[in-house]
Subunit: 229 residues, 2 copies
DNA sequence: GCAGACTAAATCGTATACGATTTCATACTT
DNA sequence: AAGTATGAAATCGTATACGATTTAGTCTGC
């Protein structure tokens, strides 16, 4: 995944990020500058820069004069991220809706069909990738790049939390496909911005709800969701 | 403003940021590593780190092997930021609403009264500070720190754009005070999350609309706001 | 006079070095 | 034995140095 192009700090960033997402560096793993630099064949300066960037994106936590550790899987963080995503994805969908064309819908529907098929072979990795592709089609016309950036940050954060593995809920993926189709129909019908936003929000919120129901032990998490997003 | 505590990279960050916001480094100003390091009495390494952080927060733009320049005042960026703020502030207000107490409302109302008074003396700096304080009171109970963080990012961005100066619209501040009072009444009445969110969104959006109306030349900006946020 | 090549200056990117801080094991005191 | 002082090892933070890249100015040939 890591490219050979760009500055060393960029390559270090990509390499470390890949190893975190690939599971080589698991949560709690201590990232030692000198060791990373040794492994990568770089000096510590660009590696340090890469780590500060990973810190800004919440892939690692950093403590002064102590160092960086790979960020852990935290149910509360997952909840925060999903709730935030429901809001920004809702807004992104509503803003993009008027600019989505017929061919866009067709492409999205094709991707959704592939998602449905990936379920039959039980391929969650592929499913997640297709899910990203589906929503990317809807968002690619988004007129506000800041909001799009927030969506991408959220997706990144979910990756960092390894949500697709720790957060698996049986049956939820199938519902997701159904909701996608409903969303496409809504877009085709030329529904108003409020309705579209509500539907897009609910789609993300439903995944969170499924998680909360499946892990009912998480009582306090429910309390955080006072207004029903 | 800059503190004497913390690492040199942190102090460099604070110092440079202050000079940008204070107007010493105006948009387009070229930030040269060696010169900044000389001025601050630090070496280039912590200064470089500070600049990368300022880049991540959009205070400066950065180009490889070329350097950093202070980010400019861009009406389109202002529009993006305001639109995004209307969304995240709306969500933050709705999420915080159930946790806001009577004393909170009283405090907020007092701040709003001071805002009203600051108008009589035409003190926009003070008005902006009080405006932040007003909304901070509403948000201080926000159960989702991620969303709160997005709000703060937006405020920072507005500062970076120096919006309070380039974006002044006569009469708008007075309307803002009126809208604040209406929002407080809505919160007191125990209104539903949707109504509160709509009102909070509209409050921010009204400021943007006032700007657009006042700078009617900005035709293309209107087009970006297709769904009426 | 102008386009392109060449050189020099400015500036960035990174390596290396070292002092500062934290951590951890050990010895010492009560 | 528990807690505290001590010192060494590990690690970070920053200074300095230098090669790499860009930029700007000059020169050349047309």
């Amino acid at each position: 995944m890591s490219s050979e192009t760009g500055s060393k700090s960029e390559r270090a960033y990509a390499a470390i990020k890949d190893k975190i997402l690939g599971g080589e560096y698991t949560p709690g793993y201590r990232l030692v500058l000198a060791k990373l630099a040794e492994d990568l064949g770089f000096s510590v300066v660009p590696v340090r820069e890469a780590i500060r960037r990973l810190e800004a994106e919440s892939f690692v936590t950093f403590e002064r004069n102590v160092g960086a550790t790979v960020a852990g899987i935290d149910p509360t963080e997952y909840l925060y991220t999903m709730q935030t995503l429901s809001i920004v994805e809702g807004a992104a969908t509503a803003l993009s809706a008027p600019l989505i064309t017929g061919p866009d819908i067709t492409r999205a529907r094709a991707v959704n069909a592939r998602m449905s098929r990936s379920l039959e072979h039980f391929d969650p990795i592929r499913f997640t990738a297709l899910n990203l592709e589906f929503h990317s089609i809807l968002f690619e016309n988004c007129p506000n790049p800041h909001i799009l950036d927030l969506v991408h940050r959220g997706w990144n954060r979910l990756q960092a939390l390894r949500s697709s593995t720790f957060n698996y809920v049986p049956g939820r993926a199938g519902e997701s496909v159904t909701e996608h189709e409903a969303l496409l129909k809504l877009l085709e019908s030329g529904a108003g911005a409020e309705d579209i936003e509500r539907a897009a929000r609910a789609h993300r919120a439903a995944t969170l709800d499924a998680y909360l129901a499946h892990n009912a032990s998480d009582q306090q998490a429910h309390a955080l969701l006072t207004p029903s997003y």
